[in-house]
């Protein structure tokens, strides 16, 4: 008996520790989250999102996609503190910078991200190079941009609101066209020149 008591005590301690470990909320391995993602989750407030999520009929599992954790005993706070951080698609479904007016929540990247920057490819001369890059890897564009993003700039050319050319452009466009005509050819055809210059409509060069 004397010899069995310490063993029994050790066994009991071990069982109790194992039981306690099994019942305690298992922390999500922080190494699986970047520091930025962890910071975003730390700032997330369910109360701010409750109304719009209800309006959009988005339940818990729309974000916490782990096979339908419908257990009401798992409160939102416990979900956050434990092991169910939503994938980034869940956030970007509503906060979608490329969705235009379709977005449900604000699309400003800096709303959540502290240090989001354009990708390294979007450097100082990106406007001139993006067409070539699109040919190499078109699928990468839609990581951030919607398909209609291209149309908004390349195909809509009504001059009511300033988009590409300011009002002085009609005066100086001939200089730019002779400096680097490849830039004009991105959007315009020769017929665009002829429609004014060849017909004598209004001002000639």
């Amino acid at each position: 008996m004397r010899r069995s008591s310490p063993l029994l005590a050790l066994l009991l301690v071990g069982l109790s520790l194992a039981s306690a470990r099994a019942e305690a909320p298992a922390p999500f391995p922080t190494s699986a989250l970047s520091a930025e993602a962890q910071a975003i989750f730390d700032r997330f407030d369910h109360r701010v999102h409750a109304k719009i999520l209800e309006k959009e009929h988005l339940g818990c599992t729309a974000c916490h996609q782990v096979g339908g954790t419908g257990d009401p005993r798992l409160s939102a706070a416990k979900l956050d503190a434990a092991y169910l951080p939503p994938p980034e698609q869940a956030c970007h479904y509503c906060h979608n910078p490329g969705a235009g007016e379709r977005k449900i929540g604000p699309g400003r990247c800096a709303l959540c991200h502290d240090h989001v920057e354009p990708p390294a490819s979007h450097g100082a001369d990106w406007v001139h190079r993006h067409g070539d890059e699109m040919l190499v890897g078109a699928l990468q564009c839609e990581t951030c941009h919607r398909p209609t993003f291209c149309i908004d700039c390349h195909n809509r050319k009504e001059p009511i609101f300033f988009q590409v050319h300011d009002r002085s452009w009609i005066t100086v466009h001939g200089i730019a066209a002779r400096t680097d005509p490849t830039t004009c050819g991105t959007c315009h055809l020769q017929s665009d020149c002829e429609s004014c210059h060849a017909t004598g409509a209004g001002r000639l060069p």
Partner: protein, 402 residues
């Protein structure tokens, strides 16, 4: 037992799409009052419809526009219509309907199908085909059958793309074009030098060569310095560019060298500057070198509601030179109204004329009238040598249907 299962499910959750369907439609009605080039009152009117729907892995996209005018000037150039469905399925993705295709020339439009397939991280197959439809920038004849298949191979620092494209139609002779593009990234990291070259061949007289070299080097802190050079040449420009402006003004080719710098600050703040030296050969008399400078500063998205964004552009070539100084200030008021003020001062010299100055400025505001309905209005004034003061008033109403 439950912990490993949850962790495994969470890991797979990165690939699980949000399942809820969502769609919206948007109508944008725009009108303007201004003078036309003859000095008469001119009122153009535009109507756009945009449709976007996401259901599971399938996305439907529609975009259409019409226009009308009241006045003597040219009719508005609105030829905009696209409608397609896009779906990801396994390692593939397809697009069906009227869509824009990536070609070696400019973007084209066709009615048909496109399919991407990525069996692994090294190979991408891209195939599309259909009937060409005129869509603004279209080079193909309406109704011409077109198709293309291309394969990207990625391995280490190399990317190679090989493609073949065919065109055939009732009034179009059969044309086949083959192209080969190679890109080498010399080193690791986003700042590694990039070498790139492309050659495309088509019978009987179509050959285009294109080469580009680019080097980006961090020079301290959050400042990158870039150097690039580019050469494009087409044996028969008309075969490549059709009646594009480039075929007229730069029929032979373009050589370009440039240097750029970009400096990043916190919260998206950045300054960028580029200088390009352009030399082109073509049929237009009076050839010469072109110089281009672009400078821009974008302030960060700090806690302030307003931003002031200045920029500068310089162009100098055979037809003259100009300096363009721009500044845009925008603010968001407490009631949600967005206001923007902008101004441009542009000293310019055409040919050997004396230097003159074009000045323009404008105000623009937008606000939500009701949930889903917004109004946008602008007033611009400019002087450009023809009109001492030319006023333009524009307005747009956007209605969103959830």
């Amino acid at each position: 037992m439950i912990l490993p299962l949850l962790l495994a499910l969470t890991a797979h959750a990165q690939d699980v799409p949000v399942p809820t369907a969502k769609s919206s439609a948007e109508s944008e009605t725009m009108a303007q009052i201004r003078h036309d080039l003859f000095g008469a009152t001119f009122v153009p009117f535009y109507q756009y419809i945009r449709f976007d729907s996401q259901s599971g892995n399938t996305q439907f996209v529609g975009y259409a526009g019409i226009g009308a005018v009241s006045g003597l000037d040219h009719p508005p150039n609105v030829d905009l219509y696209t409608l397609h469905a896009q779906r990801k399925a396994g390692r593939g993705e397809w697009v069906l309907g009227r869509q824009q295709a990536s070609t070696l020339q400019r973007r084209q439009t066709f009615d048909g199908a496109r399919y991407w397939w990525r069996p692994n991280g090294h190979v991408t197959l891209d195939a599309w085909g259909g009937v060409a439809r005129h869509f603004d920038l279209d080079d193909f004849r309406d109704g011409t059958g077109i198709g293309r298949i291309a394969m990207n191979l990625r391995g280490g620092p190399m990317l190679v793309r090989a493609g073949a494209q065919v065109e055939a139609g009732k009034d179009t002779p059969f044309i086949a074009r083959e192209d080969l593009q190679a890109r080498a990234t010399l080193g690791k990291g986003v700042d590694a030098p990039v070498l790139e070259g492309l050659i495309s061949i088509a019978e009987p007289d179509f050959t285009v060569e294109w080469g580009r070299v680019e080097v980006r080097v961090p020079v301290g802190g959050r400042v990158d310095l870039g150097l690039h050079g580019q050469h494009r040449e087409a044996a028969n420009p008309n075969a490549l560019f059709g009646d594009a402006i480039l075929a007229t003004l730069a029929g032979g080719g373009v050589n370009e060298a440039g240097v750029s710098v970009i400096a990043y600050g916190p919260q998206w703040a950045r300054f960028s500057g580029t200088y390009r030296l352009v030399d082109y050969t073509g049929p237009t008399a009076g050839q010469g070198l072109g110089h281009e400078i672009d400078l821009a500063y974008m302030p960060g998205r700090t806690g302030k509601s307003y931003r002031i964004t200045p920029s500068y552009s310089f162009r100098s070539g055979p037809n003259g030179a100009y300096h363009a100084f721009y500044v845009v200030a925008d603010d968001r008021l407490d009631d949600g109204t967005r206001v923007q003020a902008r101004a441009a001062v542009v000293p310019f010299q055409k040919g050997h004329d004396r230097w003159r100055v074009a000045v323009d400025g404008g105000l623009e505001g937008s606000r939500d009238l009701t949930p889903g309905t917004s109004l946008r209005a602008s007033l611009d004034a400019a002087t450009d040598g023809t009109f001492k003061v030319d006023l333009r008033l524009g307005a747009a109403i956007t209605v969103r249907l959830p």
